[in-house]
């Protein structure tokens, strides 16, 4: 046989062998689509910390080094292969990207979405493509209040929790509270946050609360001089803000330079992300929230200690709440697979995930809202204080999940206006 005639045969064997190796590798991999902001204004404070958390937790799951009781390597015995997609670009682009992840990349499931707009757009597509999807950071309560989804889960509480708890906190801790004012971003997040906060206060105080001014600057406006003046011209006992990310940073810097933070009691419902970078500008007494029991408010546990120390060691900065949210979502997904057992179908994993309770780095997560698809956690607020220059918190109050989250089947706004029936706050 001539050497030349062997070439096509060799080539065919090589291709066949390569295909075999590839398919074996593919079978051993668990392809996880991860969607988070990798560009744009939300990437720095949210998207990248979340990606870092995903990298850290996925590596630990693949190596089997997550603290007990989480055990086993990978998901369903398969090594997780993350496939990242940039969330920037809006809901239309994201639905196309979602289809790409499922149809072209062949992902087993998807964890993602910070923007509430994306969280409302993705679930119908997830249902159509029958792909297990865990929403990891968005706040809108409308996802499961207006929809009923089989393949979609959300592993953290809605933003309503932040603002109901904020209202309870100031009602309990601010002496002779008479008036409030607010500065919130001019889109659904800001308006919903302000509505939940003010409506809860009205219920708690039987309407005895005055709103001096409510400011709604554009998202990412960056310049808040006029709004700060307006808050000063019409002072209130408490100033509420649900600003997040870079807008929080800008507000803190500009308000601190003008003395607003010293002269007024402010509550930042999502202010925890500013602690590491701008803590020195926040005066003692300012009230801080972390959209759940995260960061400085995370309960002590082996998992939290591991997460805090490994994250800080690897990325040079402590994890903020978007990182906790991502870790919670990926861990929840793994635990649902573990609970479903080896070689479980997607439907079996969904059955396992529904109404599951698990321990994340931020403590107990109960998937007991939205027909078992929406998580509820406790919420924590505290007042910033300093000891030897180190930031700490005083007057820390923890609100049980059933105290600050609407019960199963309730519409948040209606539940608050009805006087929050069934809330268990003891």
């Amino acid at each position: 046989m001539r050497l030349d005639s062997l070439k096509p045969l060799s080539l065919a064997c090589a291709v066949a062998a390569g295909t075999l190796v590839t398919s074996v590798q593919a079978a051993e991999e668990y392809k996880l689509g991860l969607v988070t902001f990798l560009s744009g204004a939300a990437s720095g404070p949210f998207g990248i910390p979340a990606k870092n958390a995903a990298d850290l937790v996925i590596d630990a799951i693949n190596d089997g080094t997550l603290p007990a009781p989480i055990s086993g390597k990978g998901i369903d015995g398969r090594q997780i292969k993350p496939i990242y997609v940039d969330e920037a670009g809006g809901a239309t682009k994201q639905t196309a990207e979602y289809r790409n992840l499922v149809d072209r990349e062949g992902v087993d499931s998807i964890v993602g979405y910070i923007s509430s707009g994306d969280c409302l757009a993705i679930p119908p597509v997830a249902e159509e493509l029958k792909t297990l999807t865990v929403l990891f950071d968005c706040g809108t309560p409308r996802v499961f209040e207006e929809g009923d989804y089989k393949y979609v889960f959300r592993s953290h509480s809605t933003a309503s929790m932040d603002n109901i708890a904020a209202a309870r906190y100031i009602n309990e801790t601010v002496d002779s509270l008479k008036s409030i004012s607010g500065i919130n971003q001019n889109y659904s997040w800001g308006h919903d946050s302000w509505r939940d906060f003010t409506e809860t206060l009205k219920v708690l105080r039987s309407g005895d609360i005055e709103i001096t001014t409510e400011q709604f600057p554009k998202l990412f406006a960056g310049q808040y001089g006029a709004e700060i003046s307006a808050l000063m011209v019409k002072p209130a006992d408490v100033v509420h803000t649900s600003f997040w990310g870079g807008d929080t940073d800008a507000l803190v810097l500009q308000a601190a330079a003008r003395g607003l933070l010293e002269d007024n009691q402010m509550i930042f419902t999502a202010g925890e992300t500013a602690l590491n970078s701008l803590g020195e500008h926040l005066p003692d007494g300012v009230i801080i929230g972390a959209r759940g029991p995260f960061g400085p408010f995370a309960p002590e546990s082996e998992l939290n200690t591991w997460f805090q120390s490994e994250f800080t060691k690897r990325f040079g900065t402590p994890p903020t709440y978007p990182a906790y949210h991502m870790a919670q979502a990926v861990i929840g997904l793994k635990l649902a697979y573990d609970k479903a057992g080896a070689d479980a179908t997607t439907e079996q994993v969904i059955d396992a995930f529904e109404y599951m309770e698990f321990e994340g780095p931020g403590g107990k997560v109960s998937m007991n809202r939205g027909k078992g698809h929406q998580a509820a956690t406790e919420m924590v607020y505290g007042r910033l204080t300093r000891s030897n220059g180190e930031i700490g918190f005083t007057d820390v109050r923890r609100y049980a999940a059933d105290c600050v989250n609407p019960p199963e089947g309730a519409i948040t706004e209606e539940w608050i206006k009805a006087g929050m029936p069934g809330a268990k706050c003891d």
């Binding site: 990798l38 560009s39 744009g40 204004a41 990437s43 720095g44 404070p45 998207g47 990248i48 001019n186 001014t213 409510e214 400011q215 709604f216 600057p217 554009k218 990412f220 406006a221 960056g222 310049q223 001089g225 006029a226 709004e227 003046s229 307006a230 000063m232 011209v233 990310g245 870079g246 940073d249 800008a250 810097l253 500009q254 601190a256 330079a257 003008r258 003395g259 607003l260 002269d263 970078s277 701008l278 500008h281």
Partner: protein, 298 residues
């Protein structure tokens, strides 16, 4: 009374900030007939360069007051460098093209620079807050104002005066005005239009970068920072009249005062009022307040 004072001060401070951004944009359009979408990138590059260098400067423990020079110097160097690169490396090959084509070209530059910024500075926020608090604050009628914001009024006034003097009282300014009026006649008279274009683009890029640097101390510098301001800057120059520096000044004042009044009196229309003013001006004077209507060449 306190509210009126607050509206005036807030409005003028905001107008100063807007004018510094819009001056470069309108200057480039006036001379080169390029509606420069990449102006937002110059702003972002100035903010990143200034914030990065100020952060480094304070880490060395040097004299705090010199940080202002570092902030402005770093931004100007970065802005002039990138401006020169874009003008000499790309735009000069496209002069004379349709204005719409130039919008698309500069939009492409904006997208490229957005990614370049991420490659150079990453996506983590940068802070340069020290200069903002360094100047302290002043109390007027019971309200505290950051002295840094008053400094913005001074800087924008100086920029306005420098541009007015440069355009109206210097030989180069007169040459530039000739180019503004008629590029072909200017060329026929022996004026080096290409050189004037380069200088104009550099001044515009420098002003954009300077605006970014002066803004950086009051916020965290993050990706996308330049996109947010470019729409506002366009509103200002459209109100004032494309290509008119004095128009940009008046446009900035109108937008600044209208926005401040809305924030204090009717916060719910804060965003709407800017574009309502723009719509009103365009309905009455489609060419803007200060632009001279000209017959279209056929």
């Amino acid at each position: 009374m306190t509210q009126l004072l607050a509206i005036i001060i807030d409005g003028v401070v905001y107008a100063s900030w807007l004018f510094i951004i819009a001056a470069g944009l309108t200057l480039i359009y006036g001379v080169m007939r390029i509606l420069n979408m990449a102006h937002g990138s110059f702003y972002a590059i100035g903010a990143y360069a200034g914030a990065g260098m100020v952060g480094w400067y304070f880490s060395t423990g040097s004299v705090p007051w010199l940080s202002f020079a570092v902030l402005i110097g770093a931004a100007l160097i970065a802005g002039l460098f990138i401006g020169l690169l874009i003008e000499r490396g790309l735009l000069r090959f496209m002069y004379g093209r349709n204005e719409v084509v130039m919008i698309l070209v500069t939009y492409a530059i904006l997208l490229i620079l957005e990614d370049a910024i991420k490659l150079i500075w990453g996506v983590e926020p940068y802070f340069a807050y020290q200069p903002y608090s360094l100047l302290g604050r002043t109390k007027l009628a019971g309200l505290s104002f950051a002295n840094y914001d008053f400094m913005l009024i001074v800087v924008s006034t100086l920029i306005g005066l420098a541009l007015w003097y440069g355009l109206n009282r210097t030989r180069n300014g007169k040459l530039l005005r000739v180019v503004i009026h008629d590029r072909e006649i200017a060329q026929a008279l022996g004026i080096n239009v290409s050189r004037i274009f380069t200088i104009t683009f550099l001044i515009g890029a420098g002003l954009g970068a300077l605006a970014g640097a002066l803004t950086a101390p009051g916020l965290s510098v993050v990706p996308g920072i330049g996109i947010e301001v470019i729409v506002l800057a366009f509103a200002v120059v459209v109100i004032g009249g494309l290509g008119s520096v004095s128009g940009a000044l008046v446009g900035a004042l109108i937008v600044g005062l209208a926005r401040a009044a809305a924030v204090h009196l009717y916060p719910e229309v804060e965003l709407f009022v800017i574009y309502a003013v723009m719509g009103l001006v365009l309905a009455i004077r489609p060419q803007g307040l200060f632009a001279v209507a000209s017959a279209r060449k056929i």
